[in-house]
Symmetry: C2
DNA sequence: CTTCCAATGTTATTGGCGGTAACATATGTT
DNA sequence: AACATATGTTACCGCCAATAACATTGGAAG
């Protein structure tokens, strides 16, 4: 019924979200300012408050979009792979890390503003859907119908591994310390180890 | 010669660092303000600039202290353990995660303000010293005299694992999603897998 | 002990930001 | 054509980071 966002500006809400996303990538989540986003979108500094309650809601919109984009890249990576195979799990991990390194600002935002995450059930369920991509492969691999404790126990190390690798890569802890890392190899080898019986 | 910090206030520099540390834990690294730290220390808002160039330098001081504290807890965890043993590596990982969960604000700060880290060689080398604790155990375990590529390749997955686990725990991704996790068990089991021949 | 300089701290000020209120304009519904 | 509502702007407030000008303290030199 209501399209909510095709008025004066065209689609200010969407334009602002895109501006925020760009600024978060360019300057980092902490250096983002509402005023900058307004300048990028070409509106006054009061305009955003017709679409967002406050600065944090603007960032949360980018978080929602980011979680979804990362999950979709993981799901796309599964296409054509044998369900539950090592290659399938490797593909998920590769996609996870690739999203983080390609969108470090948004990735940091997703996992950085976490104090507020618990208060946003939709974000929690969105995150669970992402984790579910891995859980699904693991359940298939273990021949389980549901996500039982065994599926959980075998999946968590894989998640934490790619998660930690993502952070170390985007924080440049490895390159700064002159530690050459072949990302593809470390993902592949470690996944194999963690999937071994 | 110069003690730099035992004047009017006693030791304002140290007091401010402690105030920043407390505020970073209480409110999060992003919500920290210089003005708050001044109120905690009982000085005017201009006083800090006699001891720090700007807000970021105040945070960097806490980062330095945090990196050191985490490393010391890891080294302490090694005392009385067989060098290079599974138990030694587990102890390091446990200490790493324990520091993160006990000091989530500082931990996030250490790995969050990373854009500036590369510009601070002292922080990079401090971080390497921490990683060196793990590398030392791994070299001992593999019977290598130096940190060669094999030591590196076997250490990195362990680091990324505990690093990712730390973030998922403090970001409450697991508890928010009602995923019960026995931290001790997942560290122990995963370390064993990653150390297996 | 006195003098004086450098280190340390305060008050006053500037510029920028997040957010609100009052006002202005466009939209589409009747 | 007229009006209610959604959207956008201008003016404003309080807070903060940072700087400058001024005040005070501690200790070294005589």
């Amino acid at each position: 019924m209501k399209k909510k966002d095709a008025y004066h500006h065209g689609d200010l809400r969407a334009d602002l979200i895109e501006a925020v996303r760009r600024l978060v990538e360019e300057k980092g989540p902490d250096r983002f300012t509402v005023a900058d986003a307004c300048r990028l979108a070409g509106v006054s500094t009061a305009a955003p408050y017709r679409h967002f309650a406050d600065r944090e809601e603007m960032l949360l919109a980018v978080v929602r979009e980011g979680i979804r984009a990362q999950r979709e890249s993981m799901e796309a990576a599964l296409i054509g792979r044998e369900p539950g195979s090592v290659e399938a799990v490797v593909a998920i991990g590769r996609a996870y890390v690739a999203y983080a390194t390609a969108n470090p600002g948004v990735f940091r935002l997703i996992f950085g503003l976490s104090r507020t995450h618990g208060e946003h059930p939709d974000l929690v369920s969105e995150g669970m859907r992402t984790y579910g991509v891995l859980l699904g492969q693991m359940a298939h691999r273990l021949g389980r119908a549901d996500f039982d404790s065994e599926v959980m126990a075998r999946s968590l190390p894989l998640w934490t591994f790619v998660h930690g690798l993502s952070f170390l890569l985007i924080d440049q802890k490895l390159t700064a310390a002159k530690l050459p890392v072949d990302v593809e190899t470390v993902i592949r080898d470690t996944t194999r180890r963690l999937l071994a019986d």
